[in-house]
Amino acid sequence: MITARYHREIPQRYRLEAAKCSSCGHVSFPPRLVCPQCKARKFEAVNLSDEGTIVTFTVVRVASDKFSKETPFGVGIVELNDGVRVTAQIADVHPDELKVGQKVKLVFRRVQEDGKAGILCYGYKAVLA
């Protein structure tokens, strides 16, 4: 992954920075130029809650080559306490113990490696609260 591409997502991946529509209050993550709800174009920066609930999940057992050494791993859709949903790996738990409705917290982790010579890529993963 080219570093510029990685760098520009850092505010979202490291700090959960989102955009709250100045007109209708809808929170977009990642930030957008047009509010998907009311089509307004003005936003204020907000940080998402790092706590939430598992809405649905899976256990990836066949992954792309990049993630194949990490299988099996849990991935879920997490609804954060402010209502925004994100897709995140669910770490530090045996996949068989995952359940819909479990409370989780997003933490800062290494998410992937860009081959042997590339950069290490960080971001959020969910762990059971």
Binding site: V59, V60, S64, I77, T87, Q89
Partner: protein, 383 residues
């Protein structure tokens, strides 16, 4: 807009076609379609393909295929809407003829998936790269999350998912172009290798090579050729959020609901008027949600419908995926949407052999891209 008809169809067998290149298979399907229609020329052509760049390192497929088909200098354009590329290709051909800009247009689709690419990674490019795929999610994983949510909310069972695969393999066994011409049992499905819980290998459509093409023409051309044309009575398309997690409801694919509403309105038909439907069963759960979102069954009851056999050819309530669907026929992604149209063309002409739905006059095709961010629907009617 004026009446548009399908007057010819051709496809390769779907499967692991190691002896043939992407050019070979596209040209084979296109020539079959041209010969079947009996036309001496085409005015333009569309090539549906999801990711030829990642699968075989070849873009610019419009020109590539026009060249190898020997039809230069006609306009030739590649169309991409992930796994709905084939349906989108057909829709472009439909619109071009309906508008009066052309009389005879070839709508094709192709994918060559077994040439060594990381297929899981290539397919995942249809999801949000930065906010879904970055976390390691795969396409089976995305549909597995839909399946789990559907099971939690509506009580859909593992057996009901398996019933979809069993039925589609039963149909595909009767299709000479299908990748898997073998039946499977529910037990085999439920004991197959886990791919992304709760989806197992036999819940997933396979990795396939294949191409499909149809000839779309004006009614005037069809009359001159004295063909048995099949009329396109609705063409609709809808989009939704690219990320599954941004959807209003994870168990409902709104793009399917919206495209279906539009299609029924355009055709002036309702779900009970449809005699058969080809749905985009990339995974067993996708057939269950599609039969609900297209209005054939109430939300939450698609699993029960599959288990009770209401989607079988014999039942006639609404035969679903008589071709074997993506599950058994195979899923060369760019070709799939066109192959769905071919199944309708054969069925509505009464030429589907052992898979024939007796008296079929109206058929629907639902082709989907990504985890439901694109949906293309067509309704065809025998004249």
């Amino acid at each position: 807009m004026r009446d548009v008809v399908v007057i010819g169809a051709g496809m390769t067998k779907f499967g692991e076609l190691w002896e043939k290149s992407i050019k070979d298979i596209f040209v084979e399907a296109a020539l079959k379609a041209i010969d079947d229609a009996g036309v001496d020329h085409i005015d333009s052509m569309y090539v549906g393909a999801m990711s030829s760049g990642l699968f075989v390192g070849q873009e610019h497929l419009g020109a590539v295929m026009a060249d190898y088909l020997g039809v230069t200098p006609i306009p030739a354009t590649r169309v991409e809407s992930a796994c709905a590329s084939g349906g989108a290709s057909f829709r472009q051909a439909y619109l071009e003829v309906a508008s009066g800009a052309s009389e005879i247009v070839l709508a094709g689709g192709v994918e060559k998936m077994t040439d060594g690419a990381d297929v899981t990674e290539a397919l995942a490019t249809a999801a949000d790269q930065e906010y879904e795929v970055y976390q390691g999610i795969t396409f089976p994983g995305l549909y597995a999350m839909i399946a789990r949510a559907h099971m939690e909310r509506y009580g859909t069972t593992r057996e009901q998912l398996a019933a979809v695969a069993v039925k589609n393999h039963r149909n595909g066994a009767k299709n000479p172009n299908a990748q898997f011409r073998s039946e499977v049992t529910a037990e085999q499905v439920m004991k197959s290798t886990m791919v992304a819980d709760p989806l197992r290998l036999l819940d997933c459509s396979p990795v396939s090579d294949g191409a499909a093409a149809v000839i779309v023409a004006s009614m005037e051309v069809a009359k001159k050729l004295k063909k048995n044309p099949i009329r396109v009575i609705a063409s609709s398309q809808a989009s939704d959020t690219i990320a599954l997690h941004s959807r209003r409801d994870i168990t409902t694919l709104d793009s399917v609901v919206r495209a279906a509403q539009k299609a029924y309105k355009l055709a002036d038909k309702k779900p009970s008027d449809i005699n058969l439907v080809e749905v985009h069963d990339c995974f067993t759960i996708a057939e269950i949600t599609a039969t609900e979102d297209l209005g054939f069954f109430e939300k939450g009851t698609g699993g029960e419908a599959a288990e009770k056999g209401w989607t079988s050819i014999e039942c006639k309530r609404i035969p679903v995926n008589t071709s074997g669907g993506l599950k058994s026929k195979g899923h060369p992604v760019g070709a799939t949407g066109v192959a769905q149209i071919i199944e309708l063309y054969e069925q509505l002409n009464g030429k589907a052999g052992a898979r024939q739905v007796e008296g079929a006059r109206i058929g629907m095709a639902q082709n989907m891209g990504g985890s439901g961010a694109s949906c293309v629907i067509h309704i065809l009617e025998a004249i």
